[in-house]
Structure formats: C-alpha cells, structure tokens
C-alpha cells in the first residue's frame, strides 16, 4: 500500500498579516514558512501507519514554486520517503487539485488537510477525490487499515461516526488524526538531503476563482474593564448595553 500526503506551504501561524499592492496580495516579506498544521498531522499519522507495517512508501506532494522546497525537505526529514513538487503557483483550489490529480494515481490512500491555514480554502481534498472519482471522507479524526478496508473516524455535525470504506480513498483530516506532530530529528534532516525531491511540470488547467483584494478587520473598540469586586456589573451591561443576554 502507498500513501500520498498533500502538503500545503503556509505562513507560520503567528505571522502578522499584511498586504501589498493596494491590498491585492499577501506581503510575504520576512515570513517563516511551515507545513500546514493539518498536513503535518496527516504525515505523522502516515508514519505511524507505516511503522505498524504494510505500507510500502509515503510520498509528499506540493503544488508550488521553488521557494516551497524547504517545506518539502522538512516533510522528508520528518520521514516521508520521497517528494514531488509540481512546479506552478497554487492559483486556486481547482487548479491545485487538477495538478495533483496527475500524480495521485497509484496511491491507495491520499491524505489532505481539512484546510490550509492561509486562504482557508477547504476544497483541495474533496475536489481531488471528485476529479479522480475516488471515495472521500471529510473531517477525519482517526484512520486505521484492516485488510483492504479503511476504518475511519469522522466528525459529523452534532457527533461522530466510525465507518469503513474501501480505497483508493481521499481522507480529509482534522484534529485527532495524530496527537502531536513529529519534529525532524538530526538524523532525519541528514537523510532528507539524499531523498528524492522530484519536480514535475504542470498541466494546463483553469482557475475558477480569484482574490480581488484583502482587508484587515476593523480595529476593535477598547475593552471595557470592570473591577473584580463588581463582576456582577458585566452581566447587567451584557443585558442592557450589549443586549446579548
């Protein structure tokens, strides 16, 4: 069995967000890039499954320009066996999914994150599944393999479920899929240098959406402070002033 983990390259979660060019593009000056937190957990789970046996190889893939390679190298250092970078800017979700569909065939399990923490698209995994006509399960919080079946835990609105489903499967993962992300050890970093990072050319594909511009949320009014002894006062204010109680 082979696993493909989709890796989105995103700004560190503590990045201060700024825009340039009349607020039409994200200002990436000085930004630290990381593996999207969900993808990092997905990769961790893939490693755990491999250690349990029966997984031939774990590949990581990214649609991005050369600047995303350090992020893929990090994924190799965590433990992926090889990496594919499709050499194109990630124009929109459909464009990205179309590119990934070219390299995803042959994998039994494809792990995508529920959303990339930059543009919060929530789309690539599901689109890829539909393009390939594969099964998909979303909001996955656990995955195990039993024979030719995947045993999947997923969150539904108002609860959770356990289900089984056959591959090839696109599992769109969220919290719970793995406990803590693995951090690369020194040995992993050394080995990552020798692991293959293949570059593929993009195919023709359309983009269907475009960012017109961005805004920062309006600054918040100052917080109204109440003394600890008069805490009850807040309840009154919520009732009479804010009218939310």
């Amino acid at each position: 069995m082979k696993i493909l983990v989709l890796i989105s390259n995103v700004p560190d979660t503590t990045t201060k967000i700024r825009f340039t060019g009349d607020n039409t593009s994200f200002d990436d000056a000085g930004v630290q890039w990381i593996i999207n937190p969900w993808d990092e957990l997905a990769l961790t789970r893939a490693m755990e499954l491999k250690e349990a046996g029966g997984i031939e190889k774990i590949t990581v893939a990214n649609v991005g320009e050369k600047a995303t390679e350090p992020t893929l190298r990090k994924a190799l250092a965590v433990g992926a066996d090889d990496a594919i970078r499709i050499d194109a800017p990630a124009k929109d979700a459909f464009y990205v999914a179309s590119q990934l569909a070219e390299i995803a065939v042959g994998y039994d399990l494809i792990l995508a994150g529920i959303e990339a923490s930059d543009y919060n698209g929530n789309a690539v995994g599901g689109m890829l599944a539909e393009i390939l006509d594969y099964n998909s399960v979303s909001a996955v919080s656990g995955i195990n393999i039993e024979g030719d079946k995947f045993i999947v835990n997923r969150e539904i609105d108002g609860g959770s479920q356990v289900l089984n489903i056959t591959g090839p499967l696109v599992a769109i993962v969220q919290k719970g899929i793995a406990k803590e992300p693995r951090i690369p050890a020194m040995r992993g970093i050394m080995m990552a240098r020798k692991k293959p990072l293949n570059v593929a050319n993009p195919i023709e594909a359309n983009e269907r959406t475009q960012f017109v511009n961005f805004e920062l949320p309006p600054p918040k009014a100052a917080c109204k402070m109440i003394d600890e002894e008069n805490a009850k006062e807040i309840i009154k204010l919520l009732h009479e002033e804010a009218k939310v109680l």
Partner: protein, 320 residues
C-alpha cells in the same frame, strides 16, 4: 434559472442555520430575479419542510431515501448535482458545516463551478460575482471573485439574520437517480451529542482555559452554561490535558465558532485560540493577568480570579 440550497436536518428537524441559509438565498434571489429551491435529504415531515417556505424558499425538493443516512460524500454530491442541473441552478449554497464542506468541493467539480467556502456576507456584487470570506484564520477578510457560470459557496453560520416572509412553498418528491454503486460508506457506529447545546449551534458559549487549573473546577462553568442554555468550550491545552472532551476545543485546530456572546475564563488569548472565536459578536474575558492578549480582543473584561468572578456571574444572572 434558480438558486439551490442544500438544507441539513438533525433527526428530522431544521435548525436556525437552515433558516439563515434560506433567508440569505432569498435575498440574493431577489436581486437576481430568480427562485430559491431547497433540497432536503432525510425523513422529514411536510410540516417541517414547509417551514423553509416561511423564510423564502419557493420550492422544496425532498429526498427520502434511507441509503443517504450513511452520509456518503459521493452519493450526496451526485444528488445535489442532479438537482442543480434539473433546476438550472446558477448558484448552489451549502452551510459551512462539516457536511457542507465535505460535499461542496465534489459538487463544484461535477458542475464545473468555482467554489468559495466560509462566505460571511451577501455578495459584494452579482456580476461579477464577488463574495467575502475570512482568510488567515480570521486575521483578514478577502473579496473573492468566482468566474464560472455556476457558482458554489458555503455560508458561515450566524452571518445572516433570519427573515420571515409571506410565502408559500411547494413540496415535491425528488428522485436523484443515484445507484447503489454511489454508496461506499458503511457506518458501524454513530455517537450523537444529545441533551446538550451543540457548540457550533449555541448563541452563547462558556469557555475555560488553563487558568481554570483542573477539570474538577468546571462546576461553575457548567452551571453558567445551564442557566444560559449555552454551549461549553475550552482552549486546546484543556482538551489535551483531558480536563474536557476534545469536541469542546475551539480555535484554529479545533472548532470555529461565532456565537453572539463568548465568555473566556482563564484563557490567555493566543492567536491560534482567537482564530476560532474572534467572529463572536461580544467577547467577555476574565483573566488575572492584565497583560493577557485576550483583552485586546474582548469587549468586556475583568482582571481577576475566575474563582471569585464566576460565583458573582451566577448571582448576577439569577437577578436578571
């Protein structure tokens, strides 16, 4: 031409979220001069279905096929796509819920439609079609244009007021022509949260952080939640420690919520926590550290000890 909305039900009942979707779609339909068609999958009475009409749905398509209870992504996507084609839908709207987010991307490929998830307001313009969404986990807002003929969006909860209208909807049985092969999900276990206010549904949320010190200390928060019919939430370390169930964890890596009122007790207000709660209309923070970043995002604050403040809140609510 029409606008199609996919309405979710919980055990045969609609929630406010469904009415928000209908009201929202009706407002867009009015601007475009088109009709609102609601698709409902599940065993729901006609009386319940007709409530969708009270918020502006012109026609309700109902699918009562047992097989859909497995919530199979492919099967539901096929059914929604079939309805969209038959009704000549130019806009398809889902809730930005677990199910909506699972289905919408598949439908968008089927209908060759551009997709924007997590839309928070009426479109900025219809032609070109531009909608607003939050990006960078709530740290910014983006205006996104969809360039395809058919447009798909998932709409965030609590972003639109429900509006009742004078209107009568027709109810029609709909056969989405799905075949057994479309269903590949076999559900072996379902755990539903019952008897509690659903966190993503709650108008008021009571949340505790590491400052609560231990899981045994939650009695006051539970009492507050009871009194206010509020949902309970927590920061990530709290669920990691096992003080509270994982389902209550909010933030960038937990649930994203947007209640009218959010109480943060003993939560420092880390950027990843705020990512999940910053859309709340009013935030109340109680923290003993005057420098805690939560106060920058809060509307009302108390610098003080949660153990002293919570009993006063309980008393204050009794007096309301």
């Amino acid at each position: 031409m029409s606008i199609l909305i996919y309405t979710e039900n919980w055990d045969g009942k609609f929630k406010k979220l469904s009415y928000e979707l209908v009201s929202y779609a009706a407002a867009i339909a009015k601007e475009m001069g088109s009709k609102v068609i609601a698709l409902s999958i599940g065993d729901i009475s006609d009386e319940e279905l007709s409530k969708l009409g009270d918020y502006g749905a012109n026609k309700i398509l109902t699918v009562k096929d047992e097989r859909f209870t497995s919530l199979d992504n492919r099967a539901i996507a096929n059914a929604v796509s079939a309805a969209a084609k038959i009704e000549d839908a130019k806009i398809v709207i889902f809730a930005n819920s677990n199910l909506g987010k699972a289905i919408a991307p598949r439908v968008s490929v089927k209908l060759e439609a551009g997709l924007v998830t997590g839309v928070i307001a009426l479109p900025i313009s219809i032609d070109p079609f531009v909608v607003q969404k939050k990006v960078f986990t709530g740290k910014a807002i983006a205006n996104v244009q969809i360039d395809t003929e058919v447009k798909i969006i998932t709409f965030s909860q609590n972003s639109y007021e429900v509006v009742e209208v004078e209107n009568n909807a027709t109810i029609e049985a709909f056969d989405p022509s799905v075949v057994d092969g479309d269903f590949s999900t076999t559900v072996t276990e379902t755990n539903k949260v019952t008897g509690k206010v659903l966190l993503t549904d709650a108008e008021i949320v009571i949340s505790g952080g590491r400052g609560m010190k231990s899981g045994d200390n939650w009695g006051g928060l539970e009492q507050l939640a009871d009194m206010l019919s509020a949902g309970l939430a927590c920061s990530r370390p709290v669920s990691d420690e096992g003080w509270r169930p994982h389902g209550e964890h909010v933030g960038q890596t937990g649930k994203i919520i947007a209640p009218n009122l959010y109480f943060a007790f003993g939560i420092s207000g880390a950027i990843q926590h705020l990512g999940g709660v910053s859309s709340s209309k009013v935030i109340v923070a109680v923290n003993k550290d005057a420098e805690a970043p939560i106060f920058e995002s809060a509307d009302y604050g108390i610098i003080g000890d949660v153990n002293k403040v919570i009993p006063q809140f309980i008393e204050g609510i009794k007096e309301l």
